[in-house]
């Protein structure tokens, strides 16, 4: 069973991502409504993949990735992270990858693209 954490402040996006990802076999989905909550969940349990939005209040997606990768005490420090962004600009994605993200998805999300990207990191 693979555990996926969705860090997203928009309930609409959370609902849509859960709908798409739950089609995959043997996947358990958990959600966090902001970066701080996401980091808290990652320090408590094991996860196999994290999807995070970029535009979030307080701790945005880029900061979230940076904090996670630099937290030596976090057991999920090296977990694969997929960033979800409204930006089509290469620079934002490049920045995210430089901070430690493993892949990205642009909004509006396409279910096929989400499935393909998630499957790169978990066996589902």
């Amino acid at each position: 069973m693979s555990r996926v954490l969705i860090v997203e402040d928009s309930p609409t996006m959370v609902q849509l991502l859960v709908f798409i990802i739950k089609k995959l076999r043997d996947v358990e989905i958990d959600t966090a409504n902001d970066g701080a909550n996401g980091l808290k969940k990652l320090s408590e349990g094991r996860y196999d993949l994290v999807l995070t939005d970029i535009n979030m209040p307080l701790i945005d997606g880029l900061k979230f990735v940076s904090l996670l990768r630099n937290d030596r005490s976090n057991g999920n420090r090296d977990v694969p992270v997929i960033i979800i962004t409204t930006e089509g600009e290469e620079s934002i994605m490049e920045e995210g990858m430089k901070l430690g993200a493993n892949s990205y998805i642009t909004k509006p999300v396409n279910s096929q693209r989400v499935i393909e990207t998630v499957r790169k990191f978990i066996n589902a």
Binding site: S10, T12, Q15, L16, G88, P108, S111
Partner: protein, 295 residues
């Protein structure tokens, strides 16, 4: 025939030697014997000729026999070949039928794959619509409803700059109440019946620009999309999109469905939240008034 000849010779010998003691032949008898021998020789020649003829006939028959044997063999071979040819034809026909069936199955397979993709897209579209309408009706708070509408337009449609206008029915003026990517103060009000936005609200018909590329510089009166929000035929406001995300270069079927859904559901969500807020406000006023009287 051999027996006849032997008999004839014995007769001749008896005639030449009538008694066992034997006496010399007279000339007449000698001639007779000679004659008989001549006839015997002729007979022998005749026999030899006959024999030759018979050998020839036998050889002919053997040849005929050989020829017949060969013909029979050929006939058998031909029949076998014909049988094999028939089998080959049958197999070729079966093969072409199988190939035909294979291509049919392959086509069906392709059709199923396309159908699967279509169903998957349809499923995705329905999920988007379900989630949007579920979210729209999940709150009776006016500001929360506006936030949900904006969230749908950003996350599911992919708009970078847009605004929500509400109609003042008394003045027939459209005033922006929420926006994304543009400061609310920078958005002018529009009169019903004027400009693209005013005309869309007046007619109640959605407007879609042919070109989805953002206009530079931004002209607030010339949007990419204008969706009047309606409750039955009553327009309460409009959603106006000015710019899409960089990675989005056209509208999909899902976008049109979402716009269509928003036109109705966003309107009822806004209308009911306004009514609820109003009734809450009135209730609180009445309660305050009652408390004041009863004190």
């Amino acid at each position: 025939m051999k027996q006849t000849m032997e008999k004839e010779i014995r007769n001749t010998e008896e005639r030449a030697h009538p008694d066992a003691g034997g006496s010399l032949l007279n000339p007449q008898k000698g001639a007779e014997i000679l004659n008989m021998l001549k006839r015997g020789a002729e007979f022998t020649h005749e026999l030899l000729r006959e024999n030759e003829k018979l050998r020839y006939a036998a050889a002919r028959l053997q040849e005929q026999n050989e020829s017949l044997r060969k013909r029979t063999e050929n006939a058998v071979a031909r029949s076998e070949i014909e049988g094999m040819e028939r089998k080959l034809r049958t197999l070729t026909e079966e093969n072409s039928k199988l190939l035909e069936r294979f291509s049919e199955v392959e086509k069906e397979n392709g059709d199923f794959a396309n159908k699967y993709v279509e169903i998957e897209q349809e499923n995705n579209m329905l999920a988007n619509l379900y989630i949007s309408s579920y979210q729209l009706h999940s709150s009776l708070d006016f500001n929360e409803v506006l936030r949900i509408i904006m969230e749908i337009i950003i996350n599911l449609i992919g708009a970078e700059q847009f605004a929500l206008f509400l109609l003042d029915e008394k003045t027939q003026i459209l005033k922006a109440v929420a926006s994304e990517g543009i400061d609310l103060e920078d958005i002018p009000s529009f009169t019903v019946g004027e400009t693209i936005i005013g005309n869309a609200v007046k007619s109640g018909e959605s407007y879609y620009s042919e070109d989805t590329a953002a206009k530079e510089p931004l002209d607030m009166a010339d949007p990419l999309v204008c969706i009047p929000m309606k409750i039955t035929e009553r327009v309460i406001g409009t959603i106006v999109v000015y710019k899409l995300f960089q990675q989005k270069d056209s509208f999909t079927k899902l976008d049109y469905e979402l716009f269509y859904m928003l036109a109705g559901h966003a309107a009822t969500a806004i209308f009911s939240s306004k009514l609820y807020t109003e009734s809450e406000r009135r209730l609180s006023t009445i309660q305050g008034f009652i408390e004041l009287i009863t004190k």
